[in-house]
Symmetry: D3
Subunit: 249 residues, 6 copies
Amino acid sequence: MPKTKRRVFKRDDGRNPDDLRPVKFKKGVAPAALSSVLIRMGNTQVICAVSIEESVPRWMKIQKVEGGWVTAEYSMLPYANPERSRREVTAGKVNGRTQEIQRLIGRSLRAAVDLKLLGSRTLWIDCDVLQADGGTRTASITGTFAALHMAINKLLKQGILTSNPIREPVAAISVGLVDGIPLLDLCYTEDVAAEVDMNIVITGSGKLVEVQGTAEDQPFSKAQFNRMMKLAEKGIKELVEAQQTVSHV
Amino acid sequence: MPKTKRRVFKRDDGRNPDDLRPVKFKKGVAPAALSSVLIRMGNTQVICAVSIEESVPRWMKIQKVEGGWVTAEYSMLPYANPERSRREVTAGKVNGRTQEIQRLIGRSLRAAVDLKLLGSRTLWIDCDVLQADGGTRTASITGTFAALHMAINKLLKQGILTSNPIREPVAAISVGLVDGIPLLDLCYTEDVAAEVDMNIVITGSGKLVEVQGTAEDQPFSKAQFNRMMKLAEKGIKELVEAQQTVSHV
Amino acid sequence: MPKTKRRVFKRDDGRNPDDLRPVKFKKGVAPAALSSVLIRMGNTQVICAVSIEESVPRWMKIQKVEGGWVTAEYSMLPYANPERSRREVTAGKVNGRTQEIQRLIGRSLRAAVDLKLLGSRTLWIDCDVLQADGGTRTASITGTFAALHMAINKLLKQGILTSNPIREPVAAISVGLVDGIPLLDLCYTEDVAAEVDMNIVITGSGKLVEVQGTAEDQPFSKAQFNRMMKLAEKGIKELVEAQQTVSHV
Amino acid sequence: MPKTKRRVFKRDDGRNPDDLRPVKFKKGVAPAALSSVLIRMGNTQVICAVSIEESVPRWMKIQKVEGGWVTAEYSMLPYANPERSRREVTAGKVNGRTQEIQRLIGRSLRAAVDLKLLGSRTLWIDCDVLQADGGTRTASITGTFAALHMAINKLLKQGILTSNPIREPVAAISVGLVDGIPLLDLCYTEDVAAEVDMNIVITGSGKLVEVQGTAEDQPFSKAQFNRMMKLAEKGIKELVEAQQTVSHV
Amino acid sequence: MPKTKRRVFKRDDGRNPDDLRPVKFKKGVAPAALSSVLIRMGNTQVICAVSIEESVPRWMKIQKVEGGWVTAEYSMLPYANPERSRREVTAGKVNGRTQEIQRLIGRSLRAAVDLKLLGSRTLWIDCDVLQADGGTRTASITGTFAALHMAINKLLKQGILTSNPIREPVAAISVGLVDGIPLLDLCYTEDVAAEVDMNIVITGSGKLVEVQGTAEDQPFSKAQFNRMMKLAEKGIKELVEAQQTVSHV
Amino acid sequence: MPKTKRRVFKRDDGRNPDDLRPVKFKKGVAPAALSSVLIRMGNTQVICAVSIEESVPRWMKIQKVEGGWVTAEYSMLPYANPERSRREVTAGKVNGRTQEIQRLIGRSLRAAVDLKLLGSRTLWIDCDVLQADGGTRTASITGTFAALHMAINKLLKQGILTSNPIREPVAAISVGLVDGIPLLDLCYTEDVAAEVDMNIVITGSGKLVEVQGTAEDQPFSKAQFNRMMKLAEKGIKELVEAQQTVSHV
């Protein structure tokens, strides 16, 4: 594996290894939703919308679990890539990758919320990828927390909620090893080239919600793992700040 | 049912019976697509995107049909309505209403294009409804023609197409009878109240592509039918002009 | 396309452009059904049967809609064409064309019936095409109304219904443009050759229930549309008379 | 349970225990098919149709099996019973009972045919039950053989086949034990009451093709089994004669 | 067909025509189940497990049938054959052969049990084939009865059942004609070569529960049928004895 | 959260926090497979089998990727738990949890193998859980590597492979936080109670293949994460040794 070229390493878009892509949030893209945000991280764009349902899943009723629920659905719009992808409904089922992603988004958001304070209702999180250039699942989590925050603020203002169920912000980012160099926030071409691909979800106070690291080809050392974790922590901090520009208003 | 209140009739948004809602086009909402447009008609918003595939459907190969193909897929995003709707993939199949709509969009666009001049390739039209307030299928057709026009211009400029396959513009509009009064471009609440619901697709030169009229409850007279057709013709003319502002640039 | 050969036009089966094919009804083909009719229009044959269910669809219960429901299912028997067609159950789902047709049949029949007078029950309409030679959807509607009428008469006689829910008869017919000439009641080969294909549902008193006109290749003029409508009106009148020979007995 | 009431036993329709129901064949009910027959056994009515496909199943091509194939599909029309049954396509799959029946029909017909002499083609057998009153699977086999015979005669006459692939006729019948009494050709109410239900397929020369006996509640003795087999042999002989009135013309 | 070679006939594994393969039962292979047995007949191995559910199928509740239910599911593990077979879930549905087998197992076991004495509960029988060498459905029935017996003993000991619902043992075996010679307990290569294939289910007292005989290619005579039945009766007697070594302890 | 009870902590089965459950391997449980192992970790039992297919997935052919493939399927046998679980084929699709697990197993095994050296063939890994008591996915990976090793040895001995594609062993283990205490190898009751659940896949030389850590309720600190990683490393070392007792023979 390449080793000593660290000094001269250059990313296609000129970023340093520890740079995020430019992050932007646009509010209200789906006006019928309870709240919505379009998040852009470089060329990756995801519509994040929150809807409310005054009911909880069947299993909660059966098991008599108190409080509410937060669940997520994720979809790649067919024109999110230069080569059109088939709608999943055409295949008749949600594929494995999509299921993994929507379970991850749901778990991450639930970790940020005290479900007991939600009351007996469900917040539906929808993430539809408008343009895909790597990191769609982490952008979905980051954007979705902003939308969720806006939704909660609205419900508090309307008196539907009386105390704020949000514990602290969460955001997510990808990190990876390309030619042995740890990179923050991989774009698609970097993701394809990466030997290791990690997705990390961290809270505003720096606690871990989810750590997923996968050797794509060759196993990796613990030292490499630790360096990637550091990059992720740096990135998350910046993302949590960016979220506040939209969700705190 | 219908009485004599025609004089005093007022639409919720203050429009006259023969007024369209404000129409706006926004280009490039889905940058990875060959072309894309966000069409707004009042509160109805649809993302219209065109992708290209260098191949034709299997039946064309088997039957040795020359030329290309234009096909459409339509989807209601789950947060397009105040009450979240279930994704079709969750039900495991495309429902009947969706199938009717995407067949209608496909037929309407094919009527506007000389498929022989497309070469052996398929143009995929995707319509995803971002906000639904009535008339989503007709907005999809109108927006989609604009996107298709942009896509064709691009392919001509790139030399992929050598002669323009577009015969003339098409646009679509809904008309209906509410309390016996013919209305142009129904919004959702009008659509629900309508005794008759029509969707009309007409070309720039005023020829008919598709006429679909349905009595929701009571059959209607031919005189009523004719008055609705007139309204539709007026609306289409305005839409074709609006399309040119985006697709001719 | 259209030229001046109108004078010399001849249909394969010798009919004039405004002739229906011979129409015949045979009662009681499915003796276990509440009522049944085999309708023949030329070579097209459809089994139309009515069954009763003492319940209404779930959505009516939830929305507390009073009265009953009429719904239709349509199927092409695999041996209805010289080349056997696959059963839809083998593909695992109802295809788009079938769904469009059964929705059309259901709407058309509901327009002929005062659902409130049905009581809280569902009439199931089944149409199975025994032989297909064009116009199966319109023959289904025409045959089905006859069967429905017989079913209602039976229910009135049995005292299950106390007042007649039928408002007026409905029948349906196809019209089209072949070489620019408007033809009534297209057989399969004419249907394939048609530039425009229309299906019209009209009541006994001449009111419109459904108008569906589709340009198969080239858009058509309003004058052409009007001439086709006239043909349809003539055909429907004859069909409503023919229905009475079977349903009024 | 069986007692000593054998002497006084009476069937609802007045038949003796060893009587078939009246059997009738009507040719040509599905004119587009290669051949078709409507078989009636009492109130049970089944449309039996044969179609031809100039191809063989994929597994025959892969395994390079010479000759042709005969396969069957069976369906209960929704109005075949007083209480409407749901179409299988609505459930999205063929249920277990239907699959068992169509496999049985296919095997039975293949036993009557020398597949090598069919050439590389498939005969599709379709059985659609128009009215169900017990014994629909055995009526399907008996009717289907008649239709198959007619189809083969047609293909011989047309020179598509040059030597007759039919080895000998097959027919099928049900027998059962009701109150310990062996009955031939059970109607629906007898079938429901039966302790043992058997379906037997036998050739014209008296050879066994298929023997299926099932204890519905209590196991049965070999002596009872033998008596039922005798009844079946008597019934089949009569059915084979009846078949000849239609298929030999 | 070959006739006079009976004297010299030799089976691949050296058995006489009327020999079973060695039968072994191993208890407790699935410790979480209510009871479980691994049955081996030669190289055929099936895991048979019984689970209990304190509920009955919906149709029993609706029809208010008293007592309990016994139902079976059967599956071929993908590595049961030298060439891996696809899991049925990958195809998305249970195939016809599997459905036939699980219906047969369920019926056979129910014939051995007085369902009224089970109380309002369901016994689920699962059969998973670990190695397939012919006779998997009959081995499933034989093994399953042993497991069921153990389960019932457990429930009696626990006081959940107060009287023994088992009427008498059942076991199953295959017989067939290979080169005209009746063979007991066919292994896979014999099964493939057989002209006739029968599966017989018989009780400990020699009563018939299920008789299924199928001509694979040529019909067979009644004399042949009777000789196969005799072989089956001999085999079942030995199997019922073997069952007792495991289930009576 | 509880903190200072570490001293007195006791696991239900008496293990120390850093103890594995007893691990056992049994070879040859599925004799028709290329290789098979039954792995037991405490009460968790998984059948791991390897089959070979002389072909590669379609995407490898299309993208012309050289070498072979390793893929996994995982299934919970319905009687693996005290309460019977429904077979996935009954629901008609593989659920999200199952898909995540089989993707994880596949990736982990591929990381242990040089796919180029496999030649153009696929090794199918099947994991069927016979008894479930926590850690079924990690037991599947550990058992599956042993089976894979045996399979490769067989292929080398048979000359089908000429050089050994195995890079180094892999094994997997779960760790978690229960009452704030890091535990190794969670059984089911511990898994349910855990605040954090991690699954770690590590190679024989201590490199990371997969790190998956999930906060079930509350986020966790990096210090906690590090302590869990240490436990996992200890467990994996012991598992890799245990594997050698079976796979190196």
